[in-house]
Every structure is written in structure tokens, then in C-alpha cells.
Subunit: 232 residues, 4 copies
């Protein structure tokens, strides 16, 4: 899984300007006169906005990511309706034979109750079995896909035999508020009031997005973390 | 593919009431006094709203459908962000072995340019090949899925070997405006200013939804058809 | 301010059905076999969905309200983008001379910091002053509005002299998830992790909507209250 | 009314890249090999996307505008739910006495049917009357506003006497798809299949936004105009 930040216009200062037009006008002038340091005032304002769920100032920015991940990750990703997507299409192009199999560090044994699963390592042979099984299906399915294409079956029908482990790619564009909402649901946050239980593979994508976002808007990111990583 | 209208609160009269609060107040009283037939006035108002793209009056209603279709259809469906979805989850339950293969009447040969594909029948042997290939992958993949589950691999990992032809089910809730937007993009409308080129399988779902919607809001549906089936 | 529930299709059972399609399939069968009471199971499921922020099952329902309130309330209301609106239009009809003035129980003295204002009663003469001032402006402005209309100025221009205290009316349609989000921001919840500081007048509208919603979906409402009234 | 483009990340090339990930992969390589000029290919692709209503590639960009306009314009503007807003707040700051009155070139006489009004010039005395009336209300209302503030009435209550002609300011952020949708409804397009009848004052804001957008994405803008200015 890879995430590349393709383009962005996202700064903590955008949050501050947007908030000041609505809430802080006269207040700000007083503070400035009283000599409070500008940097610490921005931080205070952003913390206040996050804590009191003033969400709209976090929307005046934009980040476009190029994401490569398997279809089962994209299926979960695209349930998030406050983002823009363009994905590689199996109707318009022939899909390449790149498939997900679980890495050795992927814990494969599920424990706990529905909705709150936890995962623990199994015997190493379990990973071997899952990898071999995943590869066998990938090879078998891709060969059938090729056979159908060679015979003249339309791409949009032939692709239906490909498994959910198939890699695809997409551009996804979000603003910081949407991204924080996404992160709050798709990364683990045991310290939060609102624990979440994401599938590890989408969490890996989410973590890479968070890493790319953090240096762009460090004050916003810090406020998000301090608030138990719940979006405003 | 099946579509069942599970619950609805959707009437042409909802459109009329919502429109009258905003636009028609005093006008309406005059018309009523002048003896114009109420039914034909409703029809005229709905036609006017549709033609001049007053979209919001078409939103005060709700339809919930239960849809059964393959994953590759749901992938396209869920790109529509103005609807509510709950789908069967391969994380929480074991998926059942029901798979899509193309029916004899499904034209499998793609002609035309990207973005404007057309489909024509091929030799019957092409369908036989596609069906046999689809079944072979389904059987192989489902057996591997079972093998992984039996060995103790977590459902959320094991499911990644299942192909896009797997059937799933979902509840989807939309209002008439969203539904018209969906239909305008996912059914063919050669007579329209804006032709669309949906994959046949999602069009089949869309057609079933349109059939279920039509008797609920006959005036709205007629206006939608008359307007080249473009949503306001 | 008045709120009338015009139409609804909203039941706790809709939440349960939507959730079960995705998350609870096989689990449910086991529970049923083990003799757990169905009513308490529904309640448990709804509480679980609310607590763990599974928001989508709360979207498969719909409520349409007819709201009468002043323009300054509607200005705040319509910032909520996940609802459908049709409001009385000053372009299409002549506005009626109904205006807001503060009631005696409206606390008029603002204390506290920006973003966290509190309000306390002032001297009764303060209310008298505000009411007299509000009425004077309403009468003066409405007379000028009439003068412009009589002279032949277009309604859409003449209306610009009317004050924000003018009453208007609208249809607004929301699902339970949107409504909970609205309530979490527009009613006071001192007990919550996330306090909010709504203007009293929109809170009055929100409270009336909550009253109308509560008997439709009592389990959902109880779970919302128990969770500090934060939307999932 | 003023519009300032504060920040943008919006280029025709963003549209092209996003479209190519989904639809054009292999096609593009062939074209490149065959020596077609890249510039004209981009133009062709953008025209194709616009005509066939492939809307999502137009979403991977962002523009933030600072808009100053009267409240009655903002009331219409904020009905557009696919944008981000932060407006000056009468709860947090004292509003400045700046008010709209119709300019001499504003046609004040409304003719035609509801929903399709047209406006023609009246006698110059009509403008004089409207201006004098607008000023009288503004002065009267603002003096009462000040009186209430001086007496200690909370800003959020005192502001309710201010008229809809009051100027306010906001940050609004949109992507090109949202902007095109906004422009298609809020500017006149007599040549289109879908005429619109915006109030002149919001159309002035929309025209300024269109002017600011046009040089950023000239190919997209040209395709939008050529298509009767209907958003995809």
C-alpha cells in the first residue's frame, strides 16, 4: 500500500483566517495590541475550535492523494462520502496482476466480540497458508481473466472474476475536516472516548495519509491528537 | 439481481407542498379561486419545477430499497454520495456462495470508443466460455475461502480471495432527487441531451428501482421522462 | 417559534434492520436461539451502534418538519448541509408582518468568553427596551417595504429592508443521524464531553424537533441521551 | 459586492490527471505514441468529460474566495450545500454600518411569471425612492441596534433588528464542479437548455467568481461555456 501527496493547499493559517472572519474579529485586535505572541494565539485558537467542535474553519483547504491499495480497502474507503474519488477503471483498461497477500506481521487470528474484534498472531503456518491460498486464487483468477479477454469478452464482464485482493489506484481529495473524520474512524484510538476497530489494511493507508498531512498543518494535527483524535 | 422497496414515504403531493411554501403561496390562492382543476395544477407545477431545475422540492421524501447484486455493481453504486448505505459485511459474517455469471442475453462484445462503448452479441460460445470461466473462478475461490476459515484465518482476511462476481445485499435509502440523479447516470437515455453509458448490470438494478418508484410518484416520474430524464 | 412534524417514516426497527444486514447476521440467529428477549436485544444493538459511532444505520428514515421561526434562526439552521430545505420566498410572495421580539424569560445579558457565552437576566427594563426597539424597527421597516411595493419596486429588492427578526417558514427534511448531529450542536449539553453554546432561539426550535422525534424512535433517542448526546 | 480569490489549487491538468487514472490509461499511451499534440488532447478530454457528465475529475481542486455581499445574497448562497463557509458572526462581533441599496443600473420593475421573472428599468424616480427607503431603514435600524448594545442587550439579540441589506463577509471554498453547479443556477444562461432566473445581486457575485476562476482553468471554463454552462 502506498500513499503519495500529489497536491495540497493546506495550512494552519487557513484555519485561523477562516475562524477569525467569523468569530474573532474584535477580540483579535485587542490581543494583538496587548502583545500576545501570534504563534501561541494561533495554537490556542485552533485548540479551542477543535475542542468546541467548530468544524467549518477546517474545511478551507485541500489535499489530493494518490493511493494504491487492494479493492477491499477501496470498498471501505469509498463509503466516506465527503471526499472526491477517481479510481482506475476495469471497464476502460486491462487490470495489472498485482495482488494483496497478508504480510508476516499481519495478525490473522480474530478474537473478541463482533464490532470490537481484536487480532493476535497465529502459528506462522497460518500466514503461510493464507499467502499460498491468496496467491493460488490470484493466479487462477487472473489466468481466467486473460482467457476471457483473449476470447473477446468485454473487459467490464471479464473483470468480474478478479478477487478483492487485486490492487487498484485512485486519486482522492479531501479537506482537513473530512480527513480527520476519516482518521477518527479508520485508525485505532484506544485513548479516545470513541474507540474504533478498523481493518488493519485501511488503517495502514490512513496512517500514511496522516503522516503526509501532519507536517502541512502541525497545529491542527496536534489539536486533533490532543482531543482524542475525534473530528470536530 | 433483485430490488425490493422496503419502506417509503414518497408522494407527488410532498413535492407540491414543499414547492408551494417557497414559490407559490399567493399564486395558488388565485388559481384555486379561478377554478383550475387541482390535479392538472399539480402536474403543471411539477413539470415547471423539473424543467427549471428547482431541485429541492423533490427531496422531502424517502425510499428504502433492499438490493441484491454482485460486488462489482455495488462498487459503482456506492460512488453515489447522496444516498445512505448498509451492506452485508464480510468482516462480521461468512459470505454465502452466490455468484454472478453473464446471462445468455448479455451482449459480451464491446465496440465503440472509450467512454461510449456499445455492446453487441458475440457467438453463443463466447457466453459459454464466460460462464464456465466465471463458475470455475467462483468455485476455486470459494473453496480457498472455506479452507482459510477452517484453518482459523480471520474472516476479514479470508474474504479478500472472493471475486467481484460475489453477490452481496444492502439497504439503500434515497430521496427522489438523488434517485433521479442516479437514474440519469445509470440508465441509458439515448433521447437525452446527455447520453450515458452504464454497465448493463447496474442499469438492471436502476431499472428495477425506477419501476418501484414510478407508481409512488407518477407525476414526478412523467416529468423526469419528459425532460430527457435529467435530474433537476 | 413552532415546529410541526408533517410526515415521517422513522422507527427504531429501521435502525435494527439496517444494522443487521451488515453486522449482525449470524450473531443474531444464535442469540435468538438462546432465548434472549427481542426488545432488549434491539436496545442493546442500538446502544452499541451509538457508542461505537456506527452512524449509517441511523440514516434509513426520514422526518419532514414545518418550522416557523425568524430569519436569524433560519440563517443558522441552513448552515447544516445534511438536510433538505424549502423556505418561503420573498421573491415570489409578499412577506407577512410577523416579527420576533425577545420574550420576558429570554436572558439578555451576555457574560463569559467568546465561543462560550452564557446569558443571565438583566433588569426587566432591558427586556422592555429590546422589545420596544424591535417593534419600532419592525414597524418602520415594514412600512417602507409596503411603500416600495406600492410604488412598483420588485419584491426581491423591496424585501431587503426587512429585518432579521422577520418570521418565515420552511419545510425541512432530515434523517435521524442528521437530526442528532443538529441537536448535538444546537442544544446545550453541559453533561457532554463536547459542550455547545447555541443561541437560545435556535435551541428552542431544536428542542421542539427533539420532542417530536423522541416518541418515533424512543430507543435511539435514549441511546443519544445516554451518550452525552453526541451524534455517531 | 466584492470577490477576492484568496487561495487556489486549481488547474486544468488536475482534471486531466484524475480522468486518466480512471479512464484513459492505455488509450493515452497509444495517443502519445501516435504524436497527437498534448495540449489539444487535454482539451478534447476535458470537453468529453464535460459533455458526458463525468463530474468527478473536476473535483480534485480547490478555490477559496473572500466575498463581501449583503445578507440577502448570503441567504441564497448558503443554500448550496457543496461548499464550505465561514461568515462574519453577529454573535461575536459588532456589525459595521454598511448597507446595500440598488444601483441606478439595477432594473427594478418585475415582469413575467413566477419562476421566470424578468426585470426592466422603471422611471428613475423609482430608484430614488428605493434608495431613499433603503437608507432610511438602514439608519433607523442601525441606530436602534446601537441603542440596544449601549443598554447592554446581548449582540446576538440586538442584531435581529438589522435588515437583510446589511453587508457581511465570508470565506467560501469550492471545487470546480461545485462552482460550475453554482454558476449554472446563479447566472443567466439564455442559450442553455436549462434557463435560470437568479436574482441580479447574487448573479453579480457569481460573475465575479467566474472571472476569477476562468484564468485558472481556461480549458474547463471553455468546455463549461460550450456546453450551455450546465455542470456535469
Amino acid at each position: 500500500m502506498t500513499v503519495e501527496l500529489v497536491r495540497s493547499s493546506a495550512h494552519d493559517s487557513d484555519v485561523v483566517f477562516a475562524a477569525r472572519v467569523s468569530t474573532m474579529g474584535e477580540q483579535t485586535l485587542e490581543d494583538a495590541a496587548s502583545g500576545v505572541d501570534a504563534g501561541s494565539k494561533d495554537k490556542g485558537l485552533i485548540n479551542f475550535l477543535m475542542r468546541d467542535r467548530h468544524g467549518s474553519p477546517f474545511e478551507h483547504n485541500s489535499m489530493t492523494f494518490y493511493v494504491q491499495a487492494p479493492l477491499f480497502v477501496f470498498r471501505e474507503f469509498m463509503r466516506h462520502r465527503i471526499a472526491s474519488y477517481n479510481e482506475e477503471s476495469g471497464r476502460y483498461r486491462e487490470m495489472r496482476p498485482v495482488f494483496y497477500v497478508p504480510a508476516p506481521e499481519r495478525d490473522l487470528v480474530q478474537v473478541g466480540k463482533p464490532g470490537a474484534y481484536d487480532f493476535i498472531p497465529g502459528d506462522p503456518s497460518l500466514t503461510e497458508l493464507a499467502v499460498a491460498s491468496g496467491r493460488a486464487v490470484a493466479e487462477f483468477a487472473y489466468a481466467e481473466y486473460q482467457k476471457q479477454l483473449d476470447a473477446g469478452v468485454a473487459r467490464e464482464v471479464a473483470r468480474t472474476v478478479l478477487p478483492l485482493s487485486l490492487y487498484s489506484s485512485m486519486y482522492v481529495t479531501m479537506n482537513a475536516r473530512s480527513l480527520m473524520n476519516f482518521l477518527s474512524l479508520r485508525t485505532k484510538r484506544p485513548e479516545s472516548h470513541f474507540p474504533s476497530f478498523p481493518q488493519r489494511e485501511i488503517e495502514m493507508v490512513a496512517e500514511l495519509m496522516e503522516e503526509a498531512w501532519k507536517p502541512l498543518m502541525p497545529l491542527t494535527h496536534a489539536a486533533f491528537e490532543a482531543g482524542g483524535r475525534v473530528a470536530p
